[in-house]
Structures are given as C-alpha cells and as structure tokens.
Amino acid sequence: MPFLPQRVSLKLKMFGGTMAVVLLVSAVIAILARWILVTSLNRELEQRGVAIGQSIAERASGFILDKDRPNLVSLVFDAAQLGERKVLVSYIFISDNDGRILANTFIRPFPADLRGINPLPENKDYSIDLVDFDRSQAIDIAVPVREGIYTLGAVHVGLSKSHIDSLVGKLRTTFLGFITAVTVVMFLIVLRLSNAVARPLSRLTQAADAISRGSLDAPEAMLGLSDDAIKHCQAYADTDLPCWHFDQNRGEGEPTSQAASRTCRECRFYRKEGGGDEVAQLAESFSNMIWSIRLYRRRLRESEEKYRSLFDSNPDPVFVVEAATGRILDANSQAEAVYGYGRKELVGRGLAELEPDADGGVAAYLADRDAPERVLFPKLRHVRKDGEPLYVNVHACRIAYRARDAVIVSATDITELVEKDAQLIQASKMKTLGEMSAGIAHELNQPLNAIKMGSDYLKMVAETGGLPSPVALAAVTGQVSEQVDRAAAIIGHLRDFGRKSEPKLEYVDINEPIKGVFTIIGHELALQGIEVVLRLAAVAPIKAHANRLEQVFFNLVVNARDAMTGISCPAERPRRLTIVSESRDGLVDVSVADTGCGIPEAARRKIFEPFFTTKQTGQGMGLGLAITYGIVRDYGGEIEVESAPEKGSVFRLTFPVARDRGERGP
C-alpha cells in the first residue's frame, strides 16, 4: 500500500485497517438502517393517520349532512382520545368545502395557523403536509369526507411531530448504541489479535538484533520461552556433544560409533510439536536457532583459541602475510623473540623488510600466483631488527585469512646449523690445505728456486767485478719478477681458499674454482702421471662461494687421483682426468671423469654419507664427499655419480644459473 508509510508498524496496520473496515461497515449499516426504519416508521404513522382520518370521514358524513355538530365533535374527540392515539394525535378537525371548521379537538380557540392548510387536491384520497401551529409542528393528514360522489368536507388529523421525532430518536439511539458496542468489541478483539501477532514478532526482532550485536545469552528469556528443557539437554551444556537433531553435517572423518550416532529418543529441547500457533512455533525455531548458533560460535571460539594457542606456542616464528601487499597481518610471540620486533611493529610491516635478499624468498612466492600451495625455502637469509642476519628454513602455505588471500610463513631458525655447517666446511678446507701442503711446498719451491738461482748468478757476476750481459740481465730480472708473481699468485690463491666464506653468495664463474684446484695440485697430478683434460665451456655464472666450490672440485679431483693411483689400480691403465663444464638451458653442468678403478655398486649408494670411506683407517675421515654433497645442495645443485668397475667414475654436478645477474650485478 503505497499511501501507507513503511515505518507504520504491523500492529498499527492490522489494528487500523481492521478498525477502519469495522467503522465503515457500521456507518453503512447505520445509514441503511436509519433510512429503512425511519422511512417505514413515518409511512406507518402516516397510514395510521390516514386510517384514522378515513374512519372519521366515514362516520362524519352523516353528521355533516345532518349538521349534527355535537355528535361530530364527540366523534372527533372520541377518535382523538381512543387508546394511545392521544399521544400520537395532536389534533383532529373537520372542515367543510368552504373551509369552515365544523368540529375540532382543540379545547382552546382554534389556531388561526391551521385554517386553510393542506387543501385536498381533486380526486386524491388523502394529502399529507407538515404544518406549523402554536409554536409546534404536526404532520397534517387531510382525508376527504364523501357522500356518494360529493365531497362534503375534509377531516384533518394532525400527528404530533415531536412524538414522531422522539420515536425516531429512540430508534436512532438504540441503533447507534448497538453499533458502538459492536465497534468497541471489535476494537478490543482486533487489538488483542494484533498484539498477539506483533508482540512475538517484535520480540523476535529484538532477539535477532541482540544476536547481531553478539549477545547470545539466554534465548529463552529473550524470546519469553520457558527454559526448563535446557537443564535436561546434555548437548546444551557440553559443547563436545553435538545435538544430533541439528548437527546433520558433522562427522567427516569422525567415527560413527555408537556414542557418536545416538539420538535422543525424545528431544526435550527441539520440540516443534510443543504447541502454540505458528508465531509461537516460529519463536521456538528461532530460539533453537540461537541455541545452535551459540553452540557453534562457542565451538568456533574454542577452535580459534586452540589454533591461536598453537600459533602462539609454536617454537618457530610464524607470520600471516597478506598475499596482495606482502604485509604482515599477524605474528606469534616467537617471531617477536627471534626477529627482535614487537608484535605491533611487525603487524603492517612488509615481509620483504625481513628478507633483504629478495631473490627467491617468500616475496617471490607471494608474487607468483602459479606457485604450489605449500613450499619450502631452505636457508634463506633474514635480518633481525638490529641488523643481525639469521638463517631460516621457510615453509609458506596459502590460506584465506579474514576473507583475504594470505600466506602462512613459518620460519625455522637454522642459524646455528648454518654456522656449524660453515665451521665444518672450514675445518675440511683446513684439512685439505694440510693435505695439500706438500704440493704447495713444491709449487712454491719452484719459483723460489728460480729466483734464488737468478739472484745468485747476479751476485756471482758482481763478485767477479764484471757486469752481466744485457741479455742475461734481462733474462734474470724478467724471471725473478715473473716467479715472484707466480709465488704471490699461489699464496693469494691459498689465502682465498682458506678464507671463511661470507654468508652471502657470490657470482661465480664455475671454471675459476676448477682451474684453482690445478694451480695447487696440477703439478702433483702430472708427477703421478695423470693426464688432465679440461674442457671448460660454461659461460653462465652461478650463485655460490668460489672457495667452497674449489673445495668441492678439490675433493672430487683428489678422489679421482686416489682412484687412479691406488694399489688396486694396475699401473698400466691410462690415467686421465677429464673435467667438462658447459651451460645449457638455465643449468651449468660439470662432469669430473676419471679412468680409475671405479666404485663398487654396493658402495655407490653410500659414498655421500658422512663417515663412509673405502680408504684405510687413518687415510680419510669419509667426510669429503658428504661435505661436497652438502655444499652442492646449498647452491641448489645436484650431484650424482656413474661408475663401473674398471671403467672409472663420472661425477656429474648440475647447478642452476644465477638468474638475476642483470638487475643486481655481481
């Protein structure tokens, strides 16, 4: 109904609408009734007046002809005083055709007002007219007095207008009283009805509002229901027990045991049949719904608390990072402890700030929409608030967090492990340096020898008082300079090799560490009759540590040497060490092949294990290849071995090419 404002309450609509209809119907009935009743009453009275007039006219004709006025007067008096007529009939008079009054019922002089009133038209049986006389009104009914075809005069009967009005008034009062009574009754009924509908509805509304505001307490009280059923329902008090009536979708993965699948024979709570009209049923349903919502909200809160406690008690730092912006939405207390930030400082901070070496970390994962759901980033370098670096293994996992795409980032602090690793590698390098010392001494002795001889030669010439020939002088000085450079290069190389690697990866041309190995033990290999073939074609750089890679190749080369010079190896076998490096589709491959005695099948699977060695006790710790393996894996590389007895072994190393060289520079 567009002309009714929307905010008019249902109660008012029902009440007002019903009352309007009742009143309208009453009014129509009243008007109709009044019209019918008053009209018929008037007509009845007039007919009665006409009948009185006619009866008088019939009897009066004789008296008029006889001119017997006393009888005529008595006649009109008798007629006027008969029974109840004296109330109704105000006057009666008889007039002749000339208008002279022959008889009347007035006991006082005949009112002049009545003379000549209500003349009878020709050929009419009666005539009715309202007349005023003596400050009162009357309905004058004129009836002709006929004798044969002659009209002798007229009988006028005056019906008292006030009497008729009082009759009509009584009738009206009665009728209006009745209508009013009906209306009042209807009013009360409608009021009650509309209240019965509207009050539960508004209660439901209030309850719904309360739920919206988060208040779920006592739905029964809220809805005005009795709450005795609650005390008997186990599921209500114990949230671990589901209500089997409601909870139809529980139990994916839950045991459908007897206990879990039982159903209350008669639910004391969920009692739809409990009665009441539709509105009451709606209220009950609503109450059940609130109960159910409360149960699930409680369960949700418990679950949230459980996971919150898991989140907070996690020994590793855990972050929730918004996928779109890379900002931290939440962090646990361990994250504060490990990274040195307060939680408030962490929230809203970009995760990128924690990992300055952004290549390939979580930042890249966030940006890559095609990445798998869960990924592990090993050995990422992160930075604490105070600028100290730390090393972490990062698990990243996509989730939805408060309706946003987010990533759970769990970082395991492995700084100590990385440091231990570095120490182990360093120790193994030192051991290698020790093993190389004979070779180093030899390598250093060569230039020193040449320098010594050259200078001795000059000294000798000087002692004899002569001058060396320009050619000899040039040769000696040239050689001295060259050999000093050579010695310095060897020492520099050793220093680089022995240097502790910086935590940050460098861009390394893989051919450099390979060549580096041979600057130190190349001569020794040559002395042992090992032919070294280097085909170094790799051009792409990789991200690694040059001196650790040298350690890797040193281990491989020394192993190859031992495989070719061992006692079990016949001396007549060709001794050839071939190292090939090449770049291909984003990878750098290096193979180190020897013609040694090969690795037995049984040992091949174990060679990368720590402390596994085929050498005699005291000859090796069995850590060389294990460390080699660790180093290669650290740079994202792979190492595998192919070997056949009597055919030699091939170690194949594969490293990913450093990708972002262009933008970051070496």
Binding site: A441, H442, N445, Q446, P447, L448, N449, A450, I451, K452, M453, G454, D456, Y457, K459, M460, V461, A472, A475, V476, Q479, E482, Q483, H523, A526, L527, G529
Partner: protein, 242 residues
C-alpha cells in the same frame, strides 16, 4: 770445461741454470723432461748430469738409473725437493754421486760440482779403485777415503780396517770431493757398528754438509760423530779412548 746436462721440468730453473753454469764456464745442455734428457745424454754423453727428481713422466730416479746403466762413470747429481731425505737416500742407492736440495744454494751447487769435477779429474788421472787407504796417526787409525765410497769399496774398507786393529779409535777421513752412495752408507754403518762393538770410538770427517742429514737419518752419527775440523775429530777420538 766439462759439459753439464741439466734436466728439470721447470723452464725458468733451466734458464737460470744455463746462465749460472755458463758463468762458471761450463757448457750447459738442458732438457725439460726425463725422456728428453736421456735423448740428449745419448747424443752428447755429458760427464756430469744434474736432474730433478720430481718430474712428470720419467722421473729423476729413472733417469739416474738409465744413465748409470749406460755409463756408470757419469757423475749424476740429483736435485731434490726441500728435505726429501727418502728420495735422497733412494738416489744414493741408485749410485747418484751427490744430491742438492731445492732451492739450490750457490755454495751447495758449487761444492757438489767441485766434488764431481774432482772425482772426474781423479778418475781421469788414476783410473778407478784404490780409493780407500789406511794409516796410523799416533794411536788413532785413519781411513782415507777418496773418490766414492760404494759397494765395491767394501773389501778395501774391510782390509784397511783390519790394518788398524791396534788403533784406539778410527777416523773416517773423506777427501773434499769424496762421495758416498747407498751401498757405501751401508758399509760405513756396519764398520761404525763394528767399531762400537769392539769398544773403539769412530768419527767422520770431511763429508760434505749435504750428507750429514743422511748420516743422521741412518743413525751413523750416533756411532761415529761427524766433525768439520780434523784436529777436533782426532782430539775427540784421543779423549774418548784415554
């Protein structure tokens, strides 16, 4: 002057040798490997050969063996890495005349070449043999050793030793250009042991500085101390016996 063949895989070293020996007036041949050295030796037959031991391919000891097999009287001086006593011993066992350590010191090289030349001179003048002679100086028996003390010298040494039966101590008196090889060292060790067993002190004089390490190594200096002064050595022997 004599011709010297130098075999070393280090080109700079060869170059320096060439200048160095040239300054002494030697005619110098060089070879960068054992095989090349042997070829040069076969072609030129130099009386003195200097060879590095550690070389790729044919190493110094093989070269030494081959040269001694072709021409035993060749004076072969091996060049060892610093302090390679084992290699030095092995070389002496293969009858190398002498050995010098790297880096090559001028005095050592001069001394070694001097001894080699001395022995060559002696051999040219007197032929071989008769390198060992016994004499008595007061109560001390002195065994003069010229040239090379080697396996073949043993009968002479034993004979000389017998002649000195009544001496109270024995001095092994090496001439400045005398050399000793592996077998000679064995002989020396056994004679020194015999001396000790018979209660007579023994001493060594005059062996080049280089050999001291070897003597130490073989424990000969324990039985027969080495002296650089002949008087001291005689005084030691006299004092110990008195």
């Amino acid at each position: 002057m004599r011709t010297i063949l130098v075999i070393d895989d280090e080109r700079p070293t060869l170059q320096m040798f060439e200048l160095y020996l040239g300054a002494y007036g030697y005619k110098t041949l060089t070879a960068a490997s054992g095989e090349e050295g042997l070829a040069v030796f076969d072609a030129q037959t130099p009386p003195i050969v200097l060879t590095d031991i550690k070389m790729p391919g044919m190493d110094g000891l093989q070269v030494l063996e081959a040269i001694k097999a072709r021409r035993p009287e060749t004076e072969v001086i091996v060049i060892t890495g610093h302090g390679d006593t084992d290699l030095a011993l092995a070389a002496l066992g293969l009858r190398a005349t002498d050995f010098i350590d790297k880096p090559i010191r001028r005095e050592t090289l001069e001394a070694a070449l001097g001894r080699a030349n001395g022995r060559l001179d002696m051999a040219e003048a007197a032929g071989s043999g008769g390198d060992v002679a016994a004499a008595c100086e007061e109560t001390v028996g002195v065994i003069h050793i010229r040239g090379s003390l080697c396996g073949e010298s043993e009968p002479y040494l034993t004979k000389a030793f017998r002649e000195l039966d009544d001496a109270v101590g024995v001095l092994f008196d090496f001439t400045p250009n005398a050399s000793i090889n592996g077998a000679g060292l064995d002989v020396l060790a056994s004679v020194a042991e015999t001396c000790r067993a018979s209660g007579r002190p023994a001493a060594v004089y005059g062996l080049a500085e280089n050999f001291v390490r070897i003597l130490d190594r073989l424990g000969i200096t324990d039985k027969a101390p080495r002296f650089t002064d002949r008087g001291e050595a005689l005084a030691y022997l006299a004092k110990t016996t008195s």
